[in-house]
Subunit: 157 residues, 2 copies
DNA sequence: CGGCAATCGTTAATATATTAAGGTAGTCTA
DNA sequence: TAGACTACCTTAATATATTAACGATTGCCG
């Protein structure tokens, strides 16, 4: 019985590699009383000025039910506003408050500086390679990927 | 005022790329009533026969307080056993039950088959590149990476 | 016009993530 | 050998992840 599978756990390697990077940014983010998800949202919305929740979900990789809570807390913190669209009462527009914009203006440059430090330590070539390979995985058009057939689940207990 | 930072959000790209992979495995894992973390632990412990909690934490990228709960639930499900070491009463040994080993024996081959499908769709070269670049990020020895100096936090509210 | 399916955000329930603090068992040192 | 120190795991509190289901709106179509 082969205890080891033929393929090493790739999603797990993604996790570890991501943490290897993120651990150098986390202190900056928490220093300003933000969570990682809150910073992702601040940074993303700041780039476009305004976004709808489902757009934030897709870009920031946060599921809808999670986002509801995160945005509520950010609203309580005075970082974002949520306004219903007049044309379509189902949809919502999320914007940053001036307070949040000031926060991004102060935090952003620190993040950039930390990127430069990391780029020197990892080597610019590796960073470049990371961006390229991530893009290849994310935005490559490829046909539908079939699902391995699942056997009926046995009654274990 | 540059709304876009000089560096695209790399950890966020990691998240999206990881999800692009994981979404093809998740159905298999949930089909057997497991969570992603539970499968990571099953797969990892199965490879070595037994592991201590802190080893699982490091390999599976799960923090100690989370692991406590995950292992408790897995113990309730009859998947793992936790036994205190005689020599050092602080330490614990985690082992799989026969039931869990049977589960891995059934689930493992399906995971491998799904890897093969993905490898064909993504191209073997890309998969190879992914493994290589992750290893470069994770296990490259590099000097200590300095932390950008943090300014005193202002009183926002 | 009226029914009906799809969209969008939310609520609910449970599992995990994160940070801080606690508790117990080993280790070290004065 | 007492007391401080450390290592390992756990508990506590809050935030987020995940799946299912709900409620309000809108668009479609008969």
């Amino acid at each position: 019985m082969p205890r080891k599978l033929a393929y090493r756990n790739l999603p797990q390697l993604f996790l570890r590699a991501r943490e290897e990077l993120l651990c150098h940014f986390r202190p900056i983010i928490t220093h300003f009383g933000l969570t990682e998800q809150q910073w992702r949202i601040l940074r993303t919305v700041n780039e476009t000025g305004q976004l709808e929740p489902r757009e934030i979900c897709e870009i920031c990789q946060i599921l809808s039910p999670s986002l509801t809570g995160v945005l509520s807390r950010m609203e309580d913190m005075g970082l974002v506003t949520r306004t219903r669209m007049a044309e379509d009462q189902r949809r919502v527009i999320v914007r940053l408050t001036p307070k949040a914009e000031a926060l991004v203006a102060e935090l952003g440059p620190l993040i950039v500086e930390q990127y430069k430090i990391i780029e020197q330590a990892f080597g610019p070539a590796l960073i470049q390679e990371l961006y390229e390979v991530m893009d290849k995985v994310i935005s490559a058009e490829r046909g539908p990927i079939p699902q391995v057939p699942l056997p009926p689940r046995k009654n274990w207990d």
